[in-house]
Amino acid sequence: MEPVLDRFLPPRGYYLALGLEGSANKLGVGIVKHYKGQLSADNRAEVLANVRDTFNAPPGEGFLPRDVAKHHRNWFVRLVKKALEEANVKPEDLDCICFTQGPGMGAPLQSVVVGARTIASLWSKPLVGVNHCVGHIEMGREITGADNPVVLYVSGGNTQVIAYSAQRYRIFGETLDIAVGNCLDRFARVLKISNEPSPGYNIEQLAKQGKKYVQLPYTVKGMDLSMSGILAFIEEQAQDIDQKDFTAADLCYSLQETLFAMLVEITERAMAHVNSSQVLVVGGVGCNERLQEMMGVMARDRGGSVFATDERFCIDNGIMIAHAGLLGYRTGERTPYEKSVCTQRFRTDEVWVKWRA
């Protein structure tokens, strides 16, 4: 059934939405424009602004929720102003204010919700709460033009293989313990690698110098996988590394090769299961070029192709929240103030996807 998308179309013939993201250590503000009708190759969403500021912890440390929340509160007004300026949009032109309702870290999520409520009441605009994961998926589809792909969502907090069916993004496979980004970040802390621009990026660079493969556990369970055992094992290998016959770069290389091979394998299993040849990689770890390369080799072997985006859209951002929120807004979704509390746990498959056929 075709969804009804334009019941709320303003007289000017297009929509504008502002999106606010702050579920982890990035604060992002984006402004998106949709014209009427179903989005398609000839009717793409327009990115008017996509600004971001990242809180980084010192090397050897992870970021703490209270420090991140403070960072988001500090930057909120500046980033919203900057986004409006870049987009050349006035607050009164907006149709709605979209915000990340979850999943994520409690304190950072809350600080952004308070900001969202404030500007929504200041400018008398409706609020639309957005599932962070659905934001990633919808933005990935829009940017790459992938119509109905199997989605691998890989970030600091999430590792899921997802496919769309009957108005929901259904989770076919996921991590049984820690997320792949978390595994990489924590290993970066063991090696005391810098957290700027991101620990995963620095591991990726170091892995390029690695030559020797160190055997690690390989733990795939059907379409699910487990990574905490691998982390514990490699942490042990990294002790007294100066006296070993392999280097830190070798360990980064071995860790990436192992984790990514597992990710590609479960993605391929899901593709075989739902009979799809398209794959879309989203989330912060999706920026990793080695992962994209491996995924591409697998997809081509199946007569298909891989879709991925760059850091502007892979890494948490405001535009994806604006975009997914606006899709919801167009089908009548609104989040009243009393329902605008955020939640740390909000599964991808809880969202009823009204905007897709």
């Binding site: 369970k221 192992t258 075989a272 072997d301």
Partner: protein, 236 residues
Amino acid sequence: MSLIDRGFSVRIPADMAELEPELIAQGAEALTFVVDCCEGPYPKCVAKYRPPKPYRIAELDQPLRKRRTNAEVRVLRKLADAQIACPRVVSVDDKQGLIYMELIKGQSLKQVTWDASDVSSVRPLFIRFGELVAGIHALNIAHGDLTTSNAMVDSESGELKLIDFGLASQSANVEEKAVDIYVLERAIASTHPDSANQLVDAVLMGYQADPTSHTAQVMNRLQVVRQRGRKRAMLG
């Protein structure tokens, strides 16, 4: 070769190519063919081939394929000794990652369930599914990839048989068995969303049918595994 026509770029071993293989499934790690074997008890059998995966580095890929081929054969032989309904092994070539096994004629439980007019007609099959899983768990084997695609309804006997032990592990503990069931629950929920609850109930009923087995322990652990899966923080 028909594989190339379908856009796949996999080469198959030369000795297998002589058996006029016909591709029936391309899974994530293996290609499954029906081949003609004139000798032996099975005139037609299944060749399961694990090709090298070009996305994996060779140091990781080769040992993994060999390990999985050998592990699968060991599991299948153990199951056959215990008279569990699964394909019988005909011959093995672990260097090339090849297993020849009995062909089960019929449809997958997934297809049978999709085609069924109502849930109650397939309920006995799902109860039987649970019993079979309890049977393999009693041998301390975890299947590793339980889905409705990996259970076949034999068109000759009507019997339900488990296939694809490619990710099976031996000496499975309570945790692995609970994860086995959890993976199946989730597979049913995503493949048969409309009737998932009834189907899972039937599986769990069959699973717990044998009161002498240690399935109660696994069921307790299943609660823990479910909590972990559903309530993990899932930070951005």
